[in-house]
């Protein structure tokens, strides 16, 4: 009950802030930009057009996933900015003390913020996905990926795996949100929180480049479900297992671990 109150409060905060508008504008601009490239692809040389980015077979799924993949790369940046300043911003402004006075447990506040951010970003991804899928369907149609009458991937399996990949994105997104939330709790200053969050993600990214250690780091899985489906939409084989299990295990550890850490640190935090 209390968490639902936090969700409502968070909604009010973000509704009033211009961040949601900002993200929407960026997303809209990117969609327009990609749309422009598609319709003018014939004027580019083959390898520079958007159709070349959408390498492999031209179909609605490939279009949609290529678009989401490109937008998501930018969206991660906003996700980190939003989640890593969600508590520290209120601490900096002094509104945190006011919220906590309203008989709200600190634990509930953290859970509420985590759930709200997850719902917020996942809804955004879902809207972009459905829109891009609709546009992809209009431009290229939905059909089996086939060549010379040989079916590489059927339409049904493409639909199924498309939505499965979107659903699986919940794991890395929520893990990333909780990691950022932890840094937001750790500092009372937005800048410090942002720098440490980007710094840690950068270090994780470097480790991801190392063959052996990459399986342990969240950055290895952030875009994994989308990447896996993108390959399928290009006609490449899609084999979820065992990589997807590694992703689920590692992201769940991050998700729970950083949420618990955030709660512990927030419980002992002195509110300015």
């Amino acid at each position: 009950m209390k968490i639902s109150n936090v969700l409502k409060a968070e909604y009010e905060i973000y509704r009033k802030s211009s961040l949601v508008k900002f993200i929407s504008i960026i997303t809209f601009s990117l969609s327009v930009l990609f749309g422009f490239i598609i319709f003018h692809s014939s004027s580019f040389t083959g390898s520079l057009s958007f159709l070349a980015l959408m390498k492999g077979y031209e179909n609605g799924f490939n279009f949609s996933i290529s678009l989401i993949y490109s937008i998501f790369n930018i969206l991660i940046f906003f996700m980190i900015v939003t989640a890593s300043t969600t508590v520290s911003d209120e601490a900096q402004k002094g509104t945190l003390r006011t919220i906590l006075v309203k008989r709200l447990k600190r634990r509930e506040l953290i859970f509420g913020k985590s759930i709200f951010l997850l719902i917020c970003f996942f809804t955004l991804i879902a809207i972009i996905s459905l829109l891009s899928l609709a546009v992809g369907g209009i431009l290229f149609g939905f059909s089996d990926i086939s060549e010379k009458n040989y079916i590489i991937h059927s339409n049904l399996s493409l639909f199924y795996n498309y939505f499965l990949s979107l659903f699986l994105m919940i794991f890395p997104i929520s893990a990333l949100i909780n990691l950022c939330l932890f840094f937001s709790v750790l500092f009372n200053n937005n800048l410090m929180s942002l720098i440490s969050c980007f710094g840690v993600n950068f270090i994780f990214y470097i480790f991801t480049e190392l063959d052996f250690y990459k399986y342990l780091f969240l950055t290895n899985y952030i875009l994994y479900p989308l990447k896996a489906f993108q390959k399928m939409a290009q006609g490449l084989p899609l084999v979820w297992s065992p990589q997807i299990w590694y992703m689920i295990i590692v992201t769940v550890i991050y998700l729970i671990g950083f949420l618990v850490l955030a709660v512990i640190f927030f419980r002992n935090k002195e509110i300015p």
Partner: protein, 502 residues
């Protein structure tokens, strides 16, 4: 107690290592051959019909067209050539085969602009003067100042233990059959012709005019690749001609004659209209090989497209169904790496052909990485075949790398894996790795019955040696164990090193 345990562990470690990594020379005998000129080409053929393959080296000299022949006997090879055969200056192409029963060994047959001639072997020595077989003209009009090229134009097509010859004429392919006394005549004309095209210079400059070759038009002759295998399951060899993506099949009938016109013709249309317009268009290759061990030739097409943002490569498997190849592939393997021609051989000894695909992630970032590090890392992905069907993912991947010298525009060293050798006679192919950085050659044995980790993780045999640029694997002494030949051709060294299995 602790000391005892430590000692025991150390003992186990060292004993395991000493067992796992035996010396190369336990199973091979090293020998070296030296010669005076640089090597141009090498081939292995049992010239004297003693079931042991002999070595023939073509040397690179403009003065003489020489063949250095090293005969193999039960004791191996001599370090010096058994015979140096000065070939006819007019020789354009040559091949080796049993064209007559008059002489004990195989004849070296060559084509000039006007005739077919041969050298015969008697008393382990090729006669220095060639004998004319037949007067014949072909698409080969004049000899090159360089060494003649070895082309396979001698085959036993009717399986009578005596080889036939085929020669490409401007309009058709002619088959020459011989009698036991070595008298040859043209017996069949097959409707297979080479493709001629004219190449004009793109532009002229004042410097070009000084060199006539630069502004002259050239006639380019391209010949189809010919395979002589059974196509329709009647146990008789047929002629399968592949030119670009067009396949023509000429069947052999009961009278041992080939059809004059193709019995089966298919245009695979490998490149779509859009792909043909791309610059550069995707590269492709077509192979004819029996994948599923049913005695019929199947078709494997590989196509690779290099793109700015990454590559996409495909392999199309067309299985032969009772002498028919369908335009619809039986399987398409798609990969996001760039790869060249796949190697097709039976790795795990189940008589079904497996695919070895050298995959390299290629895109703008990977190309930049190669330019900076001067190193290209690629993986040899092994797809184990079962009745001509291949899994979506490879059973294993073996890493290789090549280093480049951009000043000399050549590859210098690296870590190259060779898969065609069986070094322990178990019928399963083993991996031979040439590791230039360590000057080391290592053998990783194939694991029997494995579907995943098909090669041993640790090298079973290794040796330190002066490594060449190229390595050839061949069973020279016919003991079903592969031998290793160090080919120093590209290193410009006048020698050959052999590791013959004991």
């Amino acid at each position: 107690m602790k000391k005892f345990v430590t000692l025991f562990i150390c003992f186990l470690f060292f004993s395991f290592n000493s067992y796992a990594q035996s010396d190369f020379l336990e199973i091979f005998e090293k020998s070296e051959m030296k010669f005076d000129d640089l090597m141009d080409d090498i081939f292995f053929e049992d010239l004297d019909n003693n079931d042991l393959k002999d070595i023939v080296i073509q040397t690179n000299t403009l003065k003489n067209k020489k063949l250095l022949i090293f005969f193999q006997n039960r004791d191996g090879f001599n370090s010096a050539p058994s015979q140096i055969l000065n070939m006819d200056e007019n020789a354009i192409i040559f091949d080796v085969g049993n064209i007559t029963n008059q002489y004990p060994g195989k004849e070296i047959v060559y084509l000039t602009s006007s005739s077919l001639r041969y050298y015969y072997l008697k008393d382990n020595f090729y006669n220095p003067e060639s004998i004319k077989l037949i007067d014949i003209s072909s698409i080969f009009l004049s000899p090159s100042p360089e060494s003649p090229v070895r082309c396979e134009f001698i085959w036993d097509l009717n399986e009578d233990k005596l080889d036939e010859l085929y020669v490409l004429k401007p309009n058709y392919l002619t088959l020459l059959s011989g009698e036991k006394n070595g008298v040859f005549k043209e017996t069949q004309k097959i409707g297979l012709n080479p493709i001629f095209s004219i190449r004009s210079p793109l532009r002229f400059s004042s410097e070009d005019l000084e060199v006539p070759e630069n502004f002259s038009q050239k006639i380019i002759t391209r010949v189809p690749v010919l395979y002589f295998e059974d196509f329709n399951g009647d146990k008789r060899k047929d002629i399968i001609s592949i030119f670009k993506d067009k396949i023509k099949v000429f069947l052999q009938n009961e009278k041992r004659e080939f059809s004059k016109e193709p019995d089966f013709e298919i245009n695979l249309d490998i490149l779509s209209e859009e792909e043909k317009k791309k610059i550069p268009p995707p590269s492709y290759s077509v192979d004819a090989i029996d994948l599923n061990n049913n005695g019929l030739i199947d078709i494997v097409v590989s196509k690779s497209q290099l793109q700015t943002m990454g590559s996409l490569s495909k392999i199309y498997i067309h299985l032969n169904k009772e002498g028919k190849i369908s335009l619809t592939p039986d399987q398409i393997l798609v990969n996001d790496s760039a790869f060249g021609h796949p190697a097709i051989l039976d790795i795990n000894g189940d008589n079904h052909k497996d695919l070895i695909i050298s995959e390299a992630k290629m895109g703008i970032f990977q190309i930049l990485k190669v330019l900076i590090t001067k190193k290209l890392t690629y993986e040899n992905a092994i797809y184990l075949g079962q009745s001509g069907k291949y899994p979506k993912l490879p059973a294993t991947k073996v890493k290789s790398k090549i280093r480049f010298d951009f000043e000399k525009l050549e590859r210098t060293e690296g870590e190259i894996a060779y898969f065609s050798g069986d070094f322990n006679k178990d019928g399963i192919k083993d991996v031979l790795k040439k590791i230039d950085e360590k000057n080391m050659l290592a053998i990783f044995l194939g694991v029997s019955g494995a579907r995943k980790k098909i090669f041993s993780k640790k090298a079973s045999y290794r040796v330190k040696a002066e490594l060449p640029s190229e390595i050839i694997i061949e069973d020279l002494n016919n003991d079903k164990v592969s031998d290793i030949i160090f080919d120093f051709r590209r290193d410009e060294k006048k020698k050959l090193v052999l590791f013959l299995s004991k």
